[in-house]
Symmetry: C2
């Protein structure tokens, strides 16, 4: 039996998730997708595999689901393409891998994980990352695979304007990213984050999701964190690493650290968003400063799937 | 008279700077270039202008000097191009701007600063960043401007191989970046960092220099930091923000924080590099864990220019 209360938490984005637009069918679809992903990650942990494998497995499920803004469900940029960002970090070694503005990779988190394992680098961008991927057995999809009607309609509404959306409400308030954090039976932590960025994004904008310490962070001495929300604010607040530092340098608990970083720091800057996080004892904190966050958590004693507060 | 001991510190990269290869002419040229840059930044502060303007002015001088790996002296990537990264952060507002993998911009730090001021985004990459720049009066140079014979020779030695160099010794040990940190007469802090990355780099590699919290960080409550060194290690250690957190959450002085972050943390990971930093009282710390760091600092009482320990 494990000495560690192994467990996993995931998110599928945070923001204004209007209840009036949320039909019971739609809600059920989201809840089912979150359950599929949390169970996929949990099974990896339960079988004794690593936290890195668990967060990758959970994020792959979220990337393969068209409901979330990552992988198949990635939003359209200003020229109708899907440019995806992802990052993954191993809390045991502090090794990390990440990609930014990469097209046509079915599972960006898998490419980020390959970079973590096989590259001297941490972050590869654009066609260069694809060139690196050629050496590995990475599944490539056509642009058509990433076409989903609801994302296309979102884009059509603002295409050609200078407007951009963090995800898919007209209020620019749903902030789409997916992510996972896990503690495995050996006491190792990992974090992963993946996104399609913002609808109609241009100028090669890169957000927090592919950035270590900003969108994702994991360290066996403290915690693992995956962020979602208004990326520019999370970047300026260095949110993922901030939570780790609050634990390490100030002695806060994970819950206190996540609450301070999101409810005080990010809010003071004017940013919206949230985090899922887990510490080295298996405590989990899911904190957000907006209406809702698609999220789930599971360990051997507890399973929870939720959208609203 | 100012209540603040305003001042500025700069670096031109850190690493193994072999004394046997350093002629007295070469050393004099580096010392003169560092003096030009520190004086340019100091004059901005002395005239009452902002820390942001001072760090931009100092970095522009370093970018315009062919001796340093940034701007005109940027190294060649694997296909003979100059792809540059830069970031700048204002400690008063925590606003930041950054560019990654951008070609042909004479002064990358100026484009980063324009993004800080005029964009909703923090980080723009590649041709997208250039497209954004079109709206502003940014000086563009031909590829020929960025050709320097010594960088070309470095590239020729490893071109076509899988090797890459952090800068310009065959030992891969000189880690080229330039940066500046400043405190102005109004008590505002700022940080700026700029680089051409690694000789023969490929796969769209992005290092720490354009990343907020990793290569650059500034916060009026704590300090301003610019990093140089082995970028992947600085990324995994989240070095710039780590120093700020050690001050804010653990109560360390700037010198203690910079020493812990570089001499303990970065060293334990296996990374080489250093930082220049300044706190809200005007104390400066220049710390590195390798043979040398091209560096300078100046306030009203003191001026220092140095290469070795």
């Amino acid at each position: 039996m494990s000495d560690y209360t192994f467990g996993i938490a995931i998110h599928g984005g945070a923001g204004t998730i209007e209840k009036s637009l949320m039909t019971s069918e739609k809600k059920a679809a989201y809840m089912e997708a979150l359950e599929t992903a949390i169970d996929a990650g949990y099974e990896v942990l339960d079988s004794g595999q690593s936290a890195i494998s668990a967060v990758e497995a959970a994020v792959i499920e979220l990337e393969n689901c068209p409901l979330f803004n990552a992988g198949k469900g990635a939003v359209f940029n200003s020229i109708g393409q899907h440019e995806m960002d992802a990052s993954i970090m191993d809390g045991k070694t502090l090794h990390a891998g990440a990609i930014a503005a990469v097209r046509n990779v079915k599972n960006p988190i898998t490419l980020a994980n390959i970079i973590r394992e096989h590259s001297d680098h941490v972050l590869l961008a654009g066609t260069g990352a694809l060139e690196f991927a050629e050496k590995f057995n990475i599944q490539i999809e056509t642009d058509a695979y990433f076409h989903t009607d609801h994302r296309f309609e979102q884009w059509q509404k603002i295409k050609g304007s200078d407007d951009f959306q963090l995800d898919h409400t007209s209020e620019k308030k749903y902030l789409g990213t997916v992510g996972a954090v896990a503690l495995d039976q050996n006491g190792n932590l990992a974090a992963a984050t993946s996104t399609g960025g913002m609808t109609n994004k241009k100028f090669g904008r890169i957000g927090d999701s592919p950035l270590i310490g900003l969108g994702s962070y994991a360290n066996n001495n403290t915690c693992a964190v995956s962020c979602t929300g208004s990326g520019e604010y999370l970047m300026r607040a260095v949110t993922a690493y901030d939570i780790s530092c609050l634990m390490e340098y100030k002695g806060l608990s994970l819950q206190e650290a996540a609450e301070f970083s999101i409810l005080e720091r990010l809010t003071a800057l004017g940013g919206d968003g949230g985090v899922v996080s887990i510490d080295k004892a298996g405590n989990m904190a899911m904190v957000f400063n907006c209406d809702g966050m698609y999220r789930a958590q599971r360990n051997k004693n507890h399973k929870e799937i939720a959208i609203y507060k």
